[in-house]
Symmetry: D2
Subunit: 284 residues, 4 copies
C-alpha cells in the first residue's frame, strides 16, 4: 500500500479490566447448544434423555460447578438456532452437540459463532460434533474418522493427567457402552492432547483435544453417543465441567477482525499523538 | 447408527506404490498461482515484474531445482482461475499469491483446492495470501496482522536452522526493502516455526510457518510485497524451492472425504471377507 | 518380565482434594532463587540492585499479587543453596536467576529440583538461566544462543496475547536498555510460544516460552540482565507475577518416579482387590 | 558482559555442501546399538534372537533399504560401548536397545551421544530404551510408564498416516504378542505423534513419537520386547527403516556447543571484515 489507510485507534496497553472480567467472581455464562432431534424422533434416545441431552449436560455441569456457572439452553429449531447476537454477547462458553442435521445449521450462524470464538468465547464440541459446520470451520480439516456402533466399552485414558481438564477424573475413565470412534481423525495436531480412548474392538481415538484459535479455547471430547447414557456418567460430567472452566477466557476482543496499519514508533507511549484511524479492512 | 451403512471397501495395508510415486524420480509438478492484477494496474509493480510475479517465482524455483521440477502457471482471470480438476490432478504443489482481489476467487475453487490439500497436495502461501480465502479456510482463523508499507529492511531469522526449508539459506536472510508485517498474526500455533522476521521499526513476525492439514503440507512465507523486488532475491528463491520440495507428498489420498463404518476385526487380514461398502457419507 | 514384580498400590481415581489444594485459597508459596554474586562483586550491578536482584524480583511480584503470594528467598551460598527438601516441600513455584556460577550449583540439588518440577512444582527461569544446569537438564538441549551487551532497546511482542502470562502486559513491552539475546536458541520447540523480542541491532529471540514437563509448568523469560534495571520495570513485574500464577499446579504427584506393573483389569473398581505392591523400580 | 569476548568466526551463510552431504547419494551410515545381555542370559530370548537382537534389527533394515544403508553394530560390552568418537564421526543414525543394564552405560558416553544428537545425528530409541540414560537425558523427563508382560496383542495405529515414518505401514500394524506399555508416559509432548497403540487389556500408549532436539531428529518406537519376535515382523522392520531414513539429517553442526557474542551488524556480508574470535564459552 502506498497511501495510508484510515485505521482504528489502538493502544499498546491492554485494558486490564476488560481482560479480567471473570476475576470479579461473576459466574461463567454457559450456553448448551443441542440439535435436539434424536430425542424427539427416536424412542430409544428419548428413553435415555426424556428432557433432551441438553438437560442432562446442563444439569451435570451445574452439579459440578454450582453457583460458579449460569446455564442457558439453545436449540436448532429456535430462531437463529437460539444463538442471537445478544445470546452470544452473554456467553462465555458454548457447548455443541449435533449429529443428524449438521446441514440445517445456517452458515451465517456458523460464521457468527466462529467470529465469537476467535474473539475469546470458549467452545466445547461434543461427540458427533466432529462433523459439524462449526468444528470443521474452526479446524480447517474434515473432522472425519472411522466408527462402529456396537455398544463397546470405551476406556478414556489421560495422557496429560495434570491438565486442568483431567483434574479429578479417574484414569482411565470407564464408559461401559459407547459407539466406537477410531483413527485416523481428521484434525490438525491438537495444541494439547489430553485423552486417548481405546475400545473393545481394539481401535484408538484422540478423544480429548485442545485447540487454541484466536483468543478462543476449544475442546473436543468424543464420548457421548445419543444411544447410550454417557452424559449421565458423573466422570463425564466432571470432564465437561472442567472443560467449561478451562475454556472461559478472561477477556474478549475484536482484534482478530482487523488488519490495521501503523506508522513507525506507534507503540511509543504518547496518548495525545494522533494516529490514523481504520475501518479495519484488510488492506495490507 | 443402528443399521449398517454401505461402506467403501478398505484394506488396512496401504498401497506402497501409490504412496511413493515421487521416489520414481518424476519431477515435482508445481503450479504457480497468481492474482496478476497489480502487474497490470500499477506501473511501479510492472517495472519490477514486467512478466508478472508468477514468472519470477516460477523461474526462481526452476533455477534452484532444475529438472526436478515442472512448472505450470495459473491466473485469477483464467477459466476456473486456471485451477481445473485436471490441473489439480496434475499438481503436486501449489503456490499462491493474491492481494487485492481475494474476494474474486470463487468459493467453489477454494473448496476444490482445500479438498486437494487435505488429500496430499502441497500448498505454499505467499505474503498477502495470509488473507486469502484458501489460507483462512485451511487455518480456520483470521490470518490478520498489523502492517506498514515504509520500505524497511526485513531480517528473516531461522529459529530452526536444520529444517529442510532453511537449508542453504543465510541466517539471517536480508531483504533490503519490504513491507512490514507484524504480530499478532491470526494463525493457529504453527506445527513447526521456521522463520521469524524483524523490521527496522522494531516489529516482529512469524514469517515462515509450517502446518500439516490432512495429508497436505502447508508453508506460509511472508516476504514478497508487490512493490519490492523480493522474488528476484536468490535467497528468497532458495526458500521457495526448499518449500516446494518439502511440501511434495509421496502420495495422495481421498481418505479425508470419508467417515466409514467397519465391523469388529475388520483389520484382520482376510481379503476374501465381505465387508459392507460405503458411500462415504458422514453417518456416524 | 516373566515374573510379577512387587508394585505400589494405585487407584485409578485421583484424590480430588490432593489435586486441588490451591483452590482452598491458600497463597502461592514462591521461592525466589538467586546466584547473588554480581550484586556483591560488581559495583555497577550493586547500584541497580543494592539488596540483590532477588529483592526486586520478590517485591515486584508481591506488589502485583498482594496476599495471593508468600515469598521466600534462596541463595547459592546458603546450605544446599537454600533449596532443602523442606523448602521444596513448601514451594509451589521456584524462580531461577543465575549467570556466572552455574557450575557451582551442586548436581544433587539440580536433580532434586528436577524431580520436584516433574512432580508439579512450577519453574520460572530468568535471563542467563538459559545456561543453568536446571534449565538444560529440564530441556535436554544446550540452551545456547547468540548475545551482545550493547544497551539496546528490546521490544517484547506477544504472539499469543490471550495467554495468561500476557494478560495486562502492553504489546509490545518496551525495555529501554538490555543485553541482546538472539536466535538460534537451543531449546525444544516450546509447547506454547508467548513472546518474541526484537533488538535495535535487528536480532530476534523467543523471549517467553512455555514448556510442560511431567506435572510441572516451566516458563522461560529472557529479559533481565544484571547490568540494567529490568526487574524494576512494572510491566516485567507483571509478566513475572502472571508466570508465577500460571505455573502454580493444583496438585503434586510422585507418579513420575515409578514404572509400575499392573495385572489385567486393574482399573476395574474393586477396592478390596489385592494388587501386587511395587517398589517403583524400573523393571519393565 | 562489558568486555568483548573472543568469539569464533561465523558466517551467516551456511555451507550448502556441508549441509547436503547425503544428497550426494552416499548410503546412510547406521549404527545399531544393543545391550546384548538378554540374548546371553535368557534361553527364551536366545531362542528368538540367536545372533542377538541387533542382528535382526540390522538385517531387517538392510532388507528394506538395500544399498541405501550401511550398518555397523555396537554393543554395551565393547570398549566405550562401541561408541568411540570415530564411530560416531561416521554415524548418521543410531538405534538404541537396552533394558536390564541402563546403569552400566557410562555417563561420559551418554554425554557424547547427546552432543552428537544435538549436532545432527539421528537417534531411534526402541522399546525399553524409554528408561535409558540417553533417552531421559534427551527428554529431560522420567520416561516412565505402566507395563505388564502378558503376551497381549498390540495394535499400532497411525494417527498421522502421511508421516514418512508411517509410509507403507498397515494401519493398524498388528503384533500378535507383546508386552503392554501404558499411559501416562513420562515424555514431553511429542513434536509429532505418529503412532498410538492399544492392547488386549485396554491400555493405550503413544508408541511412535517424534522429537526434534538441536539439529537432531529423534524417534521413539515402543514395540520390541525381548521375549517376543517383534523385530522379525516385516511391518516393524518397515517402521524402523522409515525411521532411519527420516532421522538422517542432511548436515552436521557444532553450533549447539557455542554461545558466541557478535557486534552489531555482524551479519552484513563483508567477508574481509575482522570479527572477534570466540572460544565458544558460555559468557553471555
Amino acid at each position: 500500500m502506498t497511501s495510508l489507510q484510515k485505521i482504528k485507534p489502538r493502544s499498546n496497553r491492554r485494558d486490564k479490566e476488560a481482560m479480567h472480567t471473570h476475576q470479579a467472581g461473576r459466574p461463567i455464562r454457559l450456553t448448551v447448544w443441542n440439535e435436539g432431534e434424536h430425542e424427539v424422533l427416536d424412542e430409544s434416545v428419548r428413553a435415555i434423555y426424556p428432557d433432551g441431552m441438553h438437560s442432562v449436560i446442563a444439569n451435570g455441569i451445574k452439579r459440578q460447578l454450582g453457583g460458579a456457572v449460569e446455564v442457558r439452553i439453545a436449540l436448532l429449531d429456535q430462531a437463529e438456532h437460539g444463538l442471537t447476537e445478544e445470546v452470544l454477547d452473554n456467553t462465555d462458553v458454548l457447548t455443541w452437540w449435533g449429529h443428524r442435521s449438521h446441514d440445517k445449521v445456517d452458515g451465517r450462524i456458523v460464521e457468527r459463532v466462529h467470529d465469537r470464538v476467535l474473539g475469546g468465547m470458549g467452545l466445547v464440541v461434543l461427540h458427533s460434533g466432529h462433523a459439524s459446520k462449526i468444528f470443521t470451520r474452526m479446524m480447517g480439516t474434515s473432522g472425519n474418522l472411522i466408527w462402529r456402533n456396537d455398544g463397546e466399552r470405551e476406556l478414556v485414558w489421560s495422557v496429560n493427567p495434570n491438565h486442568p481438564i483431567a483434574h479429578g477424573v479417574p484414569n482411565p475413565l470407564i464408559i461401559e457402552r459407547q459407539e466406537m470412534y477410531g483413527e485416523p481423525f481428521g484434525i490438525p495436531e491438537p495444541d494439547e492432547l489430553v485423552f486417548i480412548s481405546s475400545f473393545d474392538g481394539g481401535e484408538v481415538f484422540r478423544s480429548g483435544c485442545v485447540f487454541h484459535r484466536g483468543n478462543g479455547r476449544i475442546f473436543y471430547f468424543s464420548p457421548g453417543d445419543q444411544e447410550y447414557p454417557v452424559y449421565h456418567h458423573p466422570d463425564v460430567q466432571r470432564v465437561l465441567a472442567n472443560a467449561v472452566q478451562w475454556a472461559t477466557s478472561p477477556g474478549r476482543s475484536e482484534e482478530h477482525r482487523h488488519c490495521p496499519t501503523y506508522p513507525r514508533n506507534w507503540f511509543l507511549e504518547n496518548p495525545s499523538a494522533v494516529r490514523p484511524a481504520s475501518a479495519g479492512a484488510v488492506t495490507d
